[in-house]
């Protein structure tokens, strides 16, 4: 990094999950000096699929082919939903920049369009999503057209069973077959781990030995599905090599978290933000913050208890898993700044009586209430501090897991917040791509 560390950062992003990464990336692309603080790791649980919005309303489990139509409906039905505040242009620009950056960092995505895609999961179900990694995109067509296909798994890789997928979906996909192969060099190993296989397959030797075992099994298959182990840092090249050697489209099927695509996403995003000049303090934790003309954040995990100052702060600390919110005995609190949390009136109202209630649980819509610029509000309804923004799953009024809008929520809110920050700091507006 050639950029020197400024005394006061334009933006301090707290959090290194999907939303924190997106905010850092967008801020850096805007030419803002950006400091990112906090432990990574949340991204490891990502599947690599980028959902925009697929289900609305959750109670009716209505699936949408076109996520932008779903967004329009959401704006009408739930104007307080964070995504209702993100316009289509901002959302498209967010996905465009994000997937372009990932592609440059070695994790290419199919170009985002207007449609949701159905991806075959390791359970044999179809998952609607928006952004699909190139290594998985052939599976979307296969699942849609259901030509004769071969699904492979590896003995010892316990988290993935092609047999289970065929058992689940086979009656609706007559040409679907499965086969189990030995992973080269692991013939006596009882248990295999996806990440190690992925690294091994980056070497030509392992790849060729694997391909040699798969080729005789091809038969009439129009496409071949593998568990998502085709390379780690160079998945694009590994995937291409498999397609070339087998002569048919090859697709990965996402595995259970923590999965190889999650590792890929994590390292590709790290690379993307670092090459754009974001300064990262991964081992540090923000312990307190004071707001005046600028924000002064106190860090631990840094020798001497360093403080940093920033003109604006983006809170991307996540919900309960990311520890942005703390669920106490009676109340949900915001962990870092003690901001007011919009939440059910009492503990009794947190959860529905039915665990699998289609409408979800009220506590999963708890979070920070914000204005239209994603600035968290104090109890008097005014922004807590003019330069403080909150993005991602910490925001109130959404249930991203059920709505299948995790990436849409992270990217869309981060993009909009960064647009507002740029405007506040007097930085020229979004480039033409936003149109």
């Amino acid at each position: 990094m050639t950029q020197t560390q400024p005394k006061t950062w334009d933006v301090a992003v707290v959090g290194a999950g999907m939303a924190g990464m997106a905010a850092s990336l967008f801020a850096a692309e805007r030419g803002l000096s950006c400091l990112q603080i906090g432990n990574g790791g949340g991204l490891l649980f990502a599947s690599g699929l980028l959902d925009l919005l697929a289900v609305h309303p959750v109670a009716g489990r209505r699936l949408w082919d076109n996520p932008f139509e779903a967004l329009a409906m959401l704006r009408r039905d739930q104007p307080d939903h964070p995504l209702a505040r993100v316009d289509d242009a901002t959302m498209r620009a967010a996905f465009q920049s994000f997937t372009t950056a990932l592609g440059a960092a070695g994790m290419p995505y199919a170009p985002p369009g207007d449609r949701n895609a159905n991806v075959l999961t390791s359970l044999g179900t179809a998952k609607p999503t928006y952004g699909v990694p190139r290594t998985m995109s052939a599976g979307v067509g296969a699942l849609a057209g259901r030509p004769p296909c071969l699904l492979l798994d590896f003995r010892g890789l316990r988290e993935f069973s092609a047999r289970q997928i065929v058992a689940t979906i086979g009656d609706r996909w007559p040409g679907l077959r499965m086969a189990r192969v030995e992973f080269p060099g692991a013939e006596t190993t009882a248990e295999l781990y996806a990440a190690h296989m992925a690294v091994a397959l980056e070497s030509g030797d392992f790849r060729e030995r694997t391909i040699a075992r798969v080729r005789p099994l091809l038969g009439d298959a129009h496409a071949v599905g593998f568990p998502a182990v085709l390379g780690l840092a160079r998945s694009g090249a590994v995937h291409a090599a498999f397609e070339e050697a087998l002569g048919v489209p090859v697709f990965e099927i996402p595995t259970m978290p923590t999965s190889v695509p999650g590792l890929r996403l994590n390292s590709a995003l790290e690379q993307a933000v670092v090459t754009r000049g974001v300064h990262r303090m991964l081992r540090a934790n923000v312990t307190s913050a004071a707001f005046d003309g600028t924000a002064v954040l106190t860090l631990d995990g840094v020798p001497g208890g360093e403080t940093v100052s920033a003109r604006t702060v983006v809170l991307a600390t996540g919900r309960f898993t990311g520890r942005g919110l703390t669920a106490g005995q009676q109340r949900v609190t915001e962990s870092l700044l003690g901001l007011p949390v919009q939440q059910p009136a009492s503990r009794a109202a947190w959860h529905s009586r039915d665990f699998l209630d289609p409408a979800g649980h009220a506590v999963n819509r708890a979070g920070l209430a914000t204005d239209d610029e994603f600035r968290p509000l104090e109890s008097d309804g005014r922004p807590a501090w003019p330069g403080l923004f909150a993005v991602g799953s910490i925001l109130a009024g959404q249930d991203w897991m059920r709505e299948k809008c995790g990436a849409g929520l992270a990217l869309g809110t981060a993009r909009l917040a960064v647009d507002r920050i740029a405007r506040q700091l007097g930085v020229p507006g979004p480039l033409a791509e936003a149109g």
């Binding site: 432990n39 790791g41 490891l44 190993t189 781990y193 990440a195 190690h196 923590t258």
Partner: protein, 564 residues
Amino acid sequence: MSASFLRMAFLVSLGLCALGLLWRVSAWLRVRIGPDARDIPFHQRLLAAVRGTLATLVSRRTPGVLKAFVLDVFLQRRLFGGSRLRWLGHLLIVNGFLLLLVMHALARLVTAKLYPDYASTHDPWLFLRNVFGAVVVVGIVMVVAGRLRRPPSPPRPQRPMDRVFTALVAVVLLSGFLLEATKVASPKAFYRMANEYIGSTDPEELLPLRLAWATDFGVAFPDLQGAPDPDKLAEGRELHHDACASCHSPPGSSAFVSYPISRVLAPIAEPLDGIDADTWLMYLHLAACFLGLILLPFTRFIHVLADPVSLLANGAASAGPLSPVGRANRRALAIDACVDCRLCDDRCSVAPIARSLGNPALLPSHKLLATHAVATNPRWLDRQAGHARRIAEGAVLCTTCGRCTDRCPVGIDLADLWVAGRADLARAGQPSPAQWVRERSALDWDEALAVQTAAQNPVGPLSSRRETYSACVQCQTCTNVCPVVAHGGEEPGGMDLTPQKVMNLLRLGMIDLAIGSGMVWDCATCYQCQEHCPEGIRVTDVMLELRELGYRRLGDTRERRQRE
């Protein structure tokens, strides 16, 4: 003492010395250190040694060998880099002794042949003998002073033979000076010579010569007190010039060490003559020399031979890597090449650990002895009652950083020796903990530990705290990034446990089961797991702590079982 007896004694000593040397030198080809040396037959090693010697003498590498000879053997360059005082002292001792040996001890064979008019009591020989003797004494003083100035280090077990030899050297030096001093002052020696060369022992007849010798040579005639008659003295000096001067230089200035001693002895010259002190001192001097000669091959002073060989071999080998046979020879040579200078101990990376554990077996100088002993005597380790584990600790904790090798003034490849020695220790029943923990399964260890009461079980500050691992969500990230899991370990079927399973065992309070697992002991401590853990769990630190606990607890259990 007859000359023939002397010659006989000398030849016998020389023969015994030669046999001893042959035995010791043959050990350089016989001793097998390390698994790769085990299957190399004697004749191959002999062949390699002969070939190496020839290659050293005539080859493209000759310039390197010459350079090594001049800088390393002759000027002892590597010692110079360590301590100047010690270097100078050592140089004085070696060269003083060497010159004494050639000029004085081997006078008949060397000096007298080169200088037909050689006489030990005539200058420059008398003077030079004193110079060389003084040089050795000064060298010894410097080395001893250097030792005293160094911070105290734990004593290394010494061979009793080394002490005997050191004492013999002192006897040789001391008796040499005393012998010379006694002879200077001795009237009896005077009469013996007068009888031989003038044919008279009559004190009156020899009075002029006696006056001259009392005045100029310091012979302590009890009857000659006070100022001598100048005429008689002149007459005596003339007689001296004719009869004695060709063999005798005045010792007052030449024998600058023994003459002052003779002045001290002068008052008791007569009683000394009465007990034939000069003869006995001569016996003592020669006996010490001969005994020293016989013992030399069995002391660490064999290094006078082993070091040049080691250094020259280094000079010859510096062009490329050694063959396995060459390496085997070098390892066997190491024990004899070591001069016990302890410079390796000063540079040892784990010396601070040796201090904090109070275990000198970690130090290179100690390990060298242990490595050699383990390789040459299969029962040696068993006889180190209670110390075997400490010796094994020394081998395990060594990081093979190679700083000792860099420092060794005689060019021993110590780091290579440590690696080879580990394998020998393992064969002798003291493998590394990571190896012996595999003697039984984790379940077996767990069972064995369950017999102990909780009070005996040390706990670790990290692993005993629930908070350390309570945040673990079993996401498998640690396992995914673990290179040891990726490699699969030594057993078929891969690692018995993965890092995340170890964490899970801790969560379940099953620490005894965790510390016997292969994962804990094969952990490469690369810290990938700890760096990647999304929950910030100190996975690697926990692994290290489990190892520490395991070493103590399983080690005790293993020892108890071995005793039973």
